[in-house]
Amino acid sequence: MIINGIQIDDTFAEAFNMRATRVIITAQNLKWAYHAAHAMTGFATSVIGCGVEAGIEAEISSELSPDGRPGVSILMFAMGSKVLMQQLETRMGQCVLTCPTAAAFAGIASDEPINLGKNLRFFGDGFQTSKLIGGKRYWRVPVMDGEFLCEESTGMVRAIGGGNFLILATSQSAALAAAEVAIAAMQRLPNVIMPFPGGVVRSGSKVGSRYAAMFASTNDAFCPTLKGVTQTELSSDIESVMEIVIDGLSFDDIALAMHTGIAAICALGSASGVKRISAGNYGGKLGPHHFKLHAIMEIEKP
C-alpha cells in the first residue's frame, strides 16, 4: 500500500492486555494542574522499567471539571491491577498531594474501584474529614496551603497497551518532524496516550539480548547504523526511524489513533523525507491484539 508516495508495510503492531485508570486533576489554574500532572506521569514511559505507562490525555475546562476549576485528565496503564494500584497511590501521594492547590477526582466509572484518596487521607493525622456528595465519597485533608481534596476511589478497566507504528525517513530531522505532526494529531483523541517523551520513542526494542540479564535490547533490525552488520529491515536510503507507542482503553481507540497519526504523516508526502511506515511485532506470538496497518488505513474516520 502506498499513500501519497509513502509505503505502508503489510505488517502489524502487536499489543498486550493491560489494566488502566483515569484520574482528573484540577488546580487553581491550568499551570498548576499541569505541574501536578507532569509530576504524576513522569518516569512512566514503559512498564519495563517504570511499572506503569502514563500520560496526559486531555485538558478539562472549568465548566466540565468536578470542582469548577480547570484541570487535565491522566490515563495510567499497567500490566496488572496490583501494580496499577501501588503506582497510582504512590504517585498520587508524591505528586498530587504535594502540588499546591491540586485536587484529584475519579475519571472513569467501573465495577472495579481502586483507591485514590482512600489511604492518602491518613496524611491528615486524624484531622481529615470526608464528605459523601452525590453518592461519591471525597476526602478533605488539611495541608499547609489549605485543603487537599481527593475522591476516595476511581475506576479500573481492562485496556490495551503497545499499539505502535514506525516512521522510516531519510534523515533524523525528517523522521522527528513527521513524528511531531503525528503526535499533534493523535493528542486530540480521547482514550489514548503516547507515553514516551514527546510521544516518540527512538529506542525501539526487541525481546531478549545476548546478555543474560537483559530481557529487552535494541531493535537492531531497525538501527540505521547497523545496516551492514545485522539482518536489517532498512533500505539504503533510510537514515532514521522513530516509533510512536499508543496505549488505549480499547482496540478501536488505538486503531483510530494509529490511523490518525499515519494519515497525518502521509499528508506530508514523500517529499518530507518519510519513505515508509512500519510496525513492531513479535511474530504474533506474544500479544493477542494485532493492529494490521493496511486494515487500519482503510477504516473510515468517524
Binding site: F127, G146, E147
Partner: protein, 269 residues
Amino acid sequence: MSALTFSLKKPLQFAINCAALTPDALANLTLNEIAAITLYHGKQAVRVDELFDISGHDSASLRFLNATQQLDYLGANMRSGRIDISGNAGAYLGFGMKGGEIHCLGNTQDLAACNMQNGLMVIHGNTGDFLGGAAAGLRKGMLGGTVVVKGHAGDRVGDQMRRGLILIEGNAGDYCASRMLAGTIGVLGKVGAYAGFSMHRGTLLLTAQPYLHPTMQACGSHTLPFLNLLFKSFAPYSQAFASLKSLRAARWLGDAANKGMGEILVISK
C-alpha cells in the same frame, strides 16, 4: 393510573399512626383490602375507610388530602414510591424511610425524617424539633437521604445525625447540629443558640454568623474548593442553596468538649 388518594373525612381528635399506608405496604392490595386496614385512633381501632375517602389506583403514588398534624408516621419505613401530602403532617414523618419521596405541602410536627436512611423528603412549610434526629432510645439519627425544608425548622435539627443532607431555606432553632456524628446540614436563615453543641463530626453550613459557645474554635476564613462540589450537588433539591457561589467561608471546629471535629462553615456573601 391516578394516584391512590386518601382524603381525610373530618378533623381528628387524637393522633393516628399511618405507618401502614405506604406505597410498599399497599402494593398489590385491592381497594377493599386497603379500606379494611385497621388504624388506631386513641384506644379505638378504626378501618381506613372510616377515616378517609379512598380513590385512585396507583399505590406507587399516594396522596393525602385535607391532611392534619394528627397524621403521625406518614411514610414510615417506606422503600419506594411517592407520597404527596396536601396539608400538614404529624410527628415522625418518614420515620426510618429507606427510599422513595415524600412531599409535604404544609407543616410537620416534630421528628420528621427521624432515623431516615435514604430517599427524599421535601417539606414546603415549617417543621418541628428534632428534624433528622433519633427516636427515643436510639443513638444515631438520620442515616442517609436528603431532606429539604422550605420554611423554618425547630430546635435540635440533625441531633445525632449520622449521614445524609438536610437543607433548610428558613431559620433553624436552638442546638442545631447538636451531637451530630456526620453528614451535612445547611441553613440559609438564622440558627438559634448553641449551634453545634456536642458535635463530633459533620458539617453545618450557614450564611450568617451565629453566636457560638466557647468550645467551638475559630479556625479562620478560607477558600474551600470542595464547596463547589457541594453547591452543585444541591441543584436537584434547592435552587436557593444551589445559587450559593462563594467558596470563601469562616471555619469553626468543635465541639471541643466532645470529639471536636465537627465544622461550622459560615459562607461569606
